[in-house]
Symmetry: C2
């Protein structure tokens, strides 16, 4: 295919895809400045269909974690692909990957694999329901747990029955979780993200007392504590994102960055839930394909050997410091929230996101891809040089914004 | 990893995966003779972890359709992978693939992509529900539509609410479908496989009157007719499996063989449902990854250029004739059901499947991988020579079975 442009592709896509695009990568949701089509990635960079190069601070919305086209991950997947990927059973690599997860994650005595993050959150709730014989899942209001009808943030195409087995509480409000448990009665699981990373809002760390309180609540009512580490997993603590609190879940859902972009998801769980997990019929045509498992093994080994989270924390701290200095120098009051490796920036007094949208658009035009209403993601490919390159763009974007808004 | 065997891998897997394995590829479901782990595929052959070679009549339970490691498909995926797979937006190949589907499939005015067959059946029902504002889906009793809680054949881990939006009818019994529609009242969709391919049962073609009657029923009650072509798609008629009846669905779910083993699924639909489809929030981290789309495009192009269904029909006819002659010569009364490209063999007077299990086990030991209670799948790599090699094994297996049961 030659001679395409983002505009020509959009025009063609509008004829053969509803709305031209859908889901979280739909540029229509992101703002007029956003390109829709991408053609290449390398390390911390991506190129759109118009050939524009970006320092990529979204990492494909999470999956990329050791750099686009990481040579070791690509080689591991290609070597497996050269033998076979989708066969009449899993390859030996499934066992190796499960052993790696069990070795690495204190709350993991076993693992089950699938494709989508939503497969993992759904499967985790199935295990909890099989174990307890109960139906309800407590979830935080506004939290994203996937796009299946039971959890998609859009209600279109869903039925009341599909939404009837979840009961909401307020993130970081233990009393609200206790009240929801009381109200629901029949609680199989408490499903919670390791920090609050809802779209359109400042990110919020979990209070240690909230995390410990949910663990205690789950124990008291005999429900499973399920951490949805699909978005945050592998960037903060390879042992699980609440390990620093000393809070270990019964079940954890993993996906996104697990295989550096290759499609895979997993549920890990404690020994007590091994029997109930065996009773499920949960499967998919490609869930046992070997190439993505080889990629996952390589990705996780790289992260462990290089202390990937420390590298991403260094990159994130450098970015955060740089952005803070730039905002101050251009006279903008900003908030930087979330773990530094999963950062977000918002402007004070910007309820409409007008400033945020304009600044993000200016960043795009300066060759930095980040987002005005969804958290960003860093990778181990974000070296000091890449962060500094990004900061050149963000500084120019602040200057443009200042020019647009006039002197402070 | 060296020095492994199927037995040693099972022992290790038992420690780190619930039950050692789960889902449709769990060898424990298939019989003692079945190997669990596979290491390699090539053309119409697969090798298990003990190095045993098989003529593969299961095609990885559907996904392989132009031969394991088909050079053109592998090259297309690798070329895309070398540029980028999972990026901040889809690649141009998404447009090309959607255009190909719209060009090929008369009932397709648009396409949406996902990963699992279950994603596609679920998404199709979401579109139908968004379009109609109704909740219920009519499905045939015993039909497999995936493994999400709403449709998995195992009830463990599911809730009554999750199962409450489907109403069953009897396959090939139009009156039962009409009665189910009457009973349900609030019907958004009729979801149906193009033929009856339930496990443990002889396969059954759809009656043309049944297919046309469902189309008329859907029109009369204002529901969407959804064909679940996940299992049968691409092997019978590239235009959709009910096109020979002249029955065109409103929506079709596709997956399995679409990309020769690369993970992808799709929903295609008619123009009237384009608007409702736009209202969904349905997405996944890897749904827009480009390598699997490049593989899908190459697979479908090969199937179209070579008339893949005709090749598979030739292979299936040769297999069916050979098996019929062998069974007669060894004095076994058998039934061969399903389209010849998606065949199955069962024994008369074998309600316990004892004969079928023994014969399948003997086939395995003769280097032929097929199945005693699930339909098989052929591919375009099943040349006359491969079918003849398989028939050598099945003949020896009939002989063993005859020896075990004594003279007829």
């Amino acid at each position: 295919m030659t001679g395409f442009s983002d505009a020509s592709l959009r025009e063609r896509a509008a004829r053969v895809v509803p709305g031209g695009m859908y889901g979280h990568l739909n540029a229509a949701l992101h703002g007029d400045a956003y390109p829709q089509f991408f053609v290449r990635g390398e390390g911390a960079r991506q190129w759109d269909a118009d050939g524009r190069e970006y320092v990529d601070l979204m990492c494909s919305w999470g999956p990329m974690i050791v750099g686009h086209r990481n040579p070791r991950v690509e080689a591991a997947a290609a070597a497996q692909q050269a033998l076979g990927d989708c066969l009449n059973g899993p390859g030996p690599v499934m066992v190796e990957l499960a052993e790696l997860l069990v070795d690495l994650i204190p709350s993991a005595d076993w693992a089950m694999f699938s494709k989508n993050g939503t497969d993992a959150t759904t499967q985790a709730l199935m295990v909890a329901r099989a174990a307890t014989g109960r139906t309800k899942a407590l979830i935080a209001h506004g939290a994203y747990h996937g796009a299946d009808p039971w959890c998609t943030p859009g209600l279109s195409g869903t039925t009341p029955n599909q939404r009837a087995d979840t009961v909401e509480f307020t993130y970081n409000d233990l009393a609200s979780a206790e009240a929801a448990a009381e109200e629901a009665g029949d609680v199989a699981a408490i499903l919670v993200t390791p920090f609050k990373h809802d779209s359109f809002e400042d990110q919020e760390p979990a209070d240690a007392d909230f995390a410990r309180g949910l663990r205690a609540l789950a124990d008291r009512i005999g429900a499973a504590l399920v951490i949805d580490d699909v978005r945050a997993g592998w960037r903060l603590d390879l042992r699980g994102s609440w390990e620093p609190f000393g809070v270990r879940p019964d079940l954890t859902a993993w996906s996104k960055a697990m295989a550096n972009g290759f499609p895979i998801a997993a549920v890990t769980g404690v020994d007590a839930l091994r029997g109930p997990a065996q009773t499920l019929y949960s499967t998919g045509s490609f869930w046992f394909s070997a190439a993505a498992m080889a990629a996952a093994k390589a990705t996780i080994e790289i992260l462990r050997e290089t202390d990937g989270p420390a590298l991403m924390e260094r990159a994130g701290a450098r970015l955060r410091e740089g952005l803070a200095a730039q905002a101050a120098s251009h006279g903008f009051a900003i908030k930087q929230t979330g773990p530094v490796a999963i950062p977000w920036l918002s402007f004070e007094d910007d309820a409409t996101l007008d400033k945020g949208m304009r600044w993000a658009a200016a960043c795009l035009s300066e060759g930095v891809y980040l987002h005005p209403w969804h958290n960003w993601f860093l990778s181990t490919a974000h070296t000091d040089e890449e962060i500094d390159r990004a900061l050149l763009g963000t500084d120019a974007a602040f200057a443009k914004l200042r020019a647009a808004f006039g002197a402070d």
